[in-house]
Amino acid sequence: MRITVKCFASSREIVGRRELVIDVRAGATVADLRDVLFEIYPRLIDLRLRFAVNAVYAAQEMELHDGDEVACIPPVGGG
C-alpha cells in the first residue's frame, strides 16, 4: 500500500521535506508506519509525535488503507 506522509515543523526539518510516499504491507497500522519512519529517521523518535490519518487524530492501532494521508504531528503550540 502506498501511504503519503506529511511532515510539519520539527518533523519536517528532520525529514528534510514536507511529503514522502512510503510503501507498507497490506493491513499495516499507524504503529507499523511509525516504526518504518523511525527506522529511516531515528531523530523522529525523540519528538513525542502524534499521528493523524486523513486529517483526523488517529490511534496507533488504526489500520491504514492504500492512498491514506498520514501526518506526523509534533507537540503543537499555536496561539
Binding site: 510539519f8 515543523a9 486529517a55 501526518a71 507537540p75 503543537v76 503550540g77 499555536g78 496561539g79
Partner: protein, 140 residues
C-alpha cells in the same frame, strides 16, 4: 447556528472584520482574544516567530473546538477562530478568537476554554527565532 469562521491564513489579521461577521440583532455581547507576538520569552530576545499549520486539519479542529464550546455553553451563539501562519514580526497578530452571545455571562469562561483548546489540539506550530538561536515551542 450562525456565522462561524475557522480559518488558517498567511494574511495579516484585522479584528474588526472578524467581529463584524458575528453581527446579529439578538446578540448583546462579543468577547475577543487577540494573540500578539511579543519581544521577549523566558528572558530571551525574540526576533520574530514562524508559524506553520496543517491547514486542512487545523480548520476542522478549530470547528470541532467551536462545537465543544457551544456544547458546554449553549448560550454561546457564534465562534470565530482565525490563526495566521508564516513569519510574524513583533507586535503582529497571530490569532483572533471572537465569541458572541445574547448576554455576557459565560463568555469569558468560554473564551478561556477556547484559547486553551487551540493551544492543546490544533495542528499549529510556532518557532521562536531569538537573537542567539531558535526552537519549536509547545506548552505540552
Amino acid at each position: 447556528m450562525g456565522n462561524g469562521r475557522y480559518e488558517i491564513t498567511p494574511d495579516p489579521l484585522a479584528v474588526d472584520p472578524i467581529v463584524a461577521q458575528l453581527a446579529d440583532p439578538a446578540m448583546g455581547a462579543v468577547v475577543t482574544f487577540v494573540g500578539v507576538v511579543r519581544c521577549e520569552t523566558g528572558g530571551r530576545e525574540v526576533r520574530y516567530l514562524e508559524y506553520e499549520a496543517y491547514p486542512e486539519m487545523a480548520e476542522q479542529v478549530l470547528k470541532q473546538i467551536a462545537d465543544e464550546v457551544r456544547g458546554r455553553w449553549p448560550e454561546i451563539r457564534d465562534v470565530a477562530i482565525v490563526h495566521r501562519v508564516g513569519r510574524l514580526e513583533i507586535g503582529e497578530t497571530a490569532v483572533v478568537i471572537a465569541l458572541s452571545a445574547a448576554h455576557r455571562a459565560q463568555l469569558f469562561d468560554a473564551l478561556h476554554y477556547t484559547i486553551d483548546r487551540v493551544k492543546e489540539i490544533a495542528p499549529i506550530w510556532k518557532k521562536e527565532v531569538w537573537t542567539d538561536g531558535e526552537e519549536w515551542r509547545s506548552e505540552q
